[in-house]
Amino acid sequence: MGEPSVDGIRILLFAGLREQAGWGDRHWPAPAATATTLTPRQLWQALELPGTMSSMRIAINQQFAEPDTPVHPGDELAFLPPTSGG
């Protein structure tokens, strides 16, 4: 029933958030068969991430998304602190 890597959700943290959390890349087990729909908001709470999620931007599969956009098994979810490029 699929590879474990496809079943899980990859979660990435960056910059200050990564350092505060103490990790930057984690696998969240979420079997494809599970009927439950997960959202970034739920995962933020479940992972007990530091600070408030409202100051973060969210990306699912490297595209900006909303806190309540569903995250599916096999997805890559990232929490992005305020960016500053250029």
């Binding site: 960056f14 910059a15 200050g16 992005l80 305020p82 960016t83 490029g85 250029g86």
Partner: protein
């Protein structure tokens, strides 16, 4: 539309990149645009709080950064009818005086070229997954949570 985006893990020379870009465009039969608007950004010698800056560290989200830059550049150039777009951006540890970003937009008129260059610069400052950390002379460091004012 001619588009090229590169992330550089080590120092890049803006003028050398522009020369290479010019040659690449010429090979593809694209002669010099009537109007070309360019921007080069370099690391300041001082941190946001005025302390001496030793280096600026640029973290990014591999994969998403390239994808996002491509989306932003494509949309911006389409909006303004630009015909060529070069974006060069540093990642990693950047020293004071070194270039962080180069944007070069070619268009048929100066207005669209200038507006496209400005808009794309703002877009990549605010909409691309880059993070800056300032390293000070005393060994301390701090993540920036925004850009310098326009």
């Amino acid at each position: 539309m001619q588009l090229r985006i590169d992330l550089h893990a080590t120092a890049f020379e803006p003028l050398a990149c522009l020369e290479q870009w010019q040659r690449q465009l010429a090979v593809q039969g694209h002669n010099g645009s009537a109007a070309e608007s360019l921007f080069i950004g370099r690391v300041r010698p001082a941190a946001a709080d005025g302390a001496l800056l030793v280096a600026l560290e640029l973290e990014h989200y591999p994969g998403m950064t390239e994808r996002q830059l491509r989306q932003l550049a494509t949309a911006c150039c389409r909006r303004h009818g630009a015909s060529s777009c070069l974006v060069q951006h540093r990642i990693g540890r950047v020293l004071p005086g070194e270039a962080i970003v180069l944007v070069a937009i070619g268009a048929d008129r100066r207005g669209p070229a200038q507006r496209c260059c400005q808009e794309l610069l703002e877009a990549l400052k605010h909409e691309a997954p880059f993070w800056k950390r300032e390293w000070r002379a005393d060994g301390s460091s701090a993540w920036l949570t925004g850009n310098t004012p326009l």
